[in-house]
């Protein structure tokens, strides 16, 4: 092929289905985290009470997503 494709190329030809699926799943978690940290989802946990593990709810929410993203990164890294 001498002309580049018009669209985005995330995987080179020959990449296994399992590899593609894992990366797409991770991307889903990442997008969910990004959406969870901004309006309107973050607004659902805007009130400080009840405290979660001693932290105001919005702070605990962000820490939880930080841990979820880290867990997903660990899973992806170990699977690759």
């Amino acid at each position: 092929m001498d002309t580049p494709p018009k669209g985005l190329v995330f995987f080179v030809p020959g990449t296994s289905k399992a590899y593609r699926l894992r990366r797409l799943l991770f991307l889903g978690v990442l997008m969910a985290a990004a959406v969870a940290l901004i309006w309107p989802v973050y607004a659902l946990v805007a009130q400080p009470l009840p405290l979660i593990f001693g932290l105001p709810m919005p702070l605990a929410w962000i820490v939880a997503w930080l841990l979820i993203v880290m867990g997903a990164l660990v899973w992806l890294y170990r699977s690759e």
Partner: protein, 496 residues
């Protein structure tokens, strides 16, 4: 011995250790540009982890972060939120950049984009953005260091002398050891910052309120309770609006991994796995913002009306009768935060200035040896200019710093297109970047003209992506042989 003297001696010992470690690390790399700027592509996970973590968290983390929590409440959660996703692009883009960099001997971010898009002006624009972003950022680090030493010496060390000594140490190890000096000192400084932050963040709420939960319960029940409701309040005490908060998160998250002094560490990694593992582990460093914020919240009820809010940490230190040794260690932790960002900025900006700014403009080839000399000269010049703005000039660089955040985020669409969109062209990339920067700077300068009350960087990103796409589709693409190098990464063809 006078308590202030003990504190100053502890900080002096810390500075001495940093200097010794920075100079000693010179022996671990060759005397080439690749050694000076990219550590001979040999950094392991330990050093990369601390370089990345300690470079991200500047003196803002120890002074500004608690100040935000103290004065703006839940608004401070923003600095934790954008880092949650902000470093992840490096997991995917970093190893690709590392491999192309190793093959073509790149050491800066712009070299990669200039080659991929066959567009030299792109490198010059990126060099200007990088150096323009570095100076105000570095100036703030110097101001922070001078301020800390002045406070702990009870004014006996003037701010100009504190900044001079601290950055004299930084300059010495950056000049002698380059990125390895940055790497090993950041490891030491990063450990120091983490220990100090977790100790103070857990101790202060316990000492003043009986625990973290008790502290927040009391704040929630007090007149300050409203500040804990997201997204917090602005500096004037008004509720921060959701548009501004959400758009600031988007721009900061998109810009985080594109800061040149952070991205360039991709080239320093010894392997793809080392770089990926560093990104995987990065959230453990990011978590240290939690105790940093707790330090600021600890002052809300116990010490109301401290102004400016950025002085809350030194204020608390002077109010609670800590042993002078502990005060010294906390201040050394704050110095570590300033230096570990300042050194990476200084080193990266000087390397970029010469490799991307100067080299393309001179007609003859510059030898490796000359490049190293020029980079060192620029390290001194940038240090001197930043020092001038930190202690001599009254000119505020805040607008330049704010503008640079919007400008740095504009690099991400180009970097993404470089690796994932073969159809992206050099004219498209340059016009997209320029459109993004110009729109972003325009709306920063004229906020009243923004169609929506959102971060100016978002307008810039929209303009950038639209122009990059439209112009690329109407200009000639790069040859497929080159594009395969960027988009057809052989080792990513995996079986399982």
């Amino acid at each position: 011995m006078e308590p202030w003297l003990v504190t100053v001696l502890v900080c002096g010992a810390y500075l001495g250790l940093s200097l010794g470690m920075g100079i000693a690390s010179r022996r671990t790399v060759t005397g080439t540009v690749a050694g000076y700027v990219a550590a001979d592509r040999s950094m392991n996970v330990l050093v990369l982890y601390f370089v990345l973590g300690a470079s991200v968290f500047s003196s803002f983390a120890f002074l500004g972060g608690p100040g935000w929590a103290y004065s703006r409440g839940a608004a401070a959660f923003y600095i934790l939120a954008y880092g949650t996703v902000g470093m992840v692009p490096l997991y995917f883009i970093g190893p690709r950049a590392r491999r192309v960099g190793a093959r073509l001997n790149f050491v800066t971010q712009a070299e990669l984009l200039v080659h991929r898009f066959a567009n030299r002006p792109l490198g010059i624009v990126l060099a200007i953005v990088s150096v323009a972003a570095c100076i105000p950022y570095l100036t703030l680090q110097m101001k922070g260091a001078g301020y800390i030493l002045s406070v702990i010496s009870e004014g006996r060390i003037p701010e100009w002398a504190g900044a001079l000594v601290t950055y004299g140490v930084v300059m010495t190890y950056v000049l002698t050891s380059g990125v390895m000096g940055v790497g090993w000192t950041n490891t030491f400084q990063g450990i120091f910052m983490l220990v100090v932050a977790w100790f103070m963040g857990l101790y202060l709420p316990w000492k003043l309120y009986g625990g973290v939960g008790a502290m927040f319960t009391q704040i929630a029940a007090s007149d300050f309770g409203a500040m804990l409701t997201a997204p917090g309040v602005t500096t004037s005490g008004e509720p921060w609006n959701w548009w501004a908060y959400s758009s600031a998160i988007i721009v900061s998250a998109m810009g985080l991994s594109m800061w040149p002094h952070l991205f360039m560490k991709s080239y320093a990694a010894k392997s793809d796995r080392a770089l990926r593992l560093t990104v995987v582990l990065y959230p453990t460093f990011q978590l240290f913002l939690v105790p940093i914020l707790l330090i600021g919240f600890a002052g809300v009820i116990a010490y109301p009306n401290v102004a400016p809010a950025d002085t809350i940490v030194p204020y608390i230190l002077t109010q609670i009768e800590f042993p002078a040794l502990i005060v010294g260690l906390v201040c050394a932790g704050a110095l570590a935060a300033s230096m570990s960002t300042g050194d990476a900025l200084l080193h990266a900006a000087a390397s970029i200035g010469i490799r991307d700014g100067l080299a393309p403009l001179v007609s003859h080839a510059i030898t490796d040896r000359q490049q190293r000399s020029y980079i060192r000269i620029l390290v001194v010049l940038l240090g001197a200019v930043s020092y001038y703005f930190a202690v001599v000039s009254d000119v505020s660089l805040v607008a330049l710093l704010l503008g640079s955040y919007g400008a740095v985020a504009q690099i991400l669409p180009l970097m993404f297109a470089a690796f994932y969109w073969p159809r992206a062209t050099g004219v498209g990339a340059l016009s997209g970047l320029l459109a993004g920067i110009l729109v972003s700077v325009f709306f920063l300068a004229a906020p009243e003209l923004r169609p929506f009350p959102i971060h100016e960087g978002v307008f810039g990103l929209v303009a950038n992506i639209v122009v990059l796409t439209a112009v690329s589709l109407n200009t000639r693409p790069e040859p497929m042989a080159k594009l395969r190098l960027y988009t057809g990464i052989e080792s990513e063809v995996r079986g399982g």
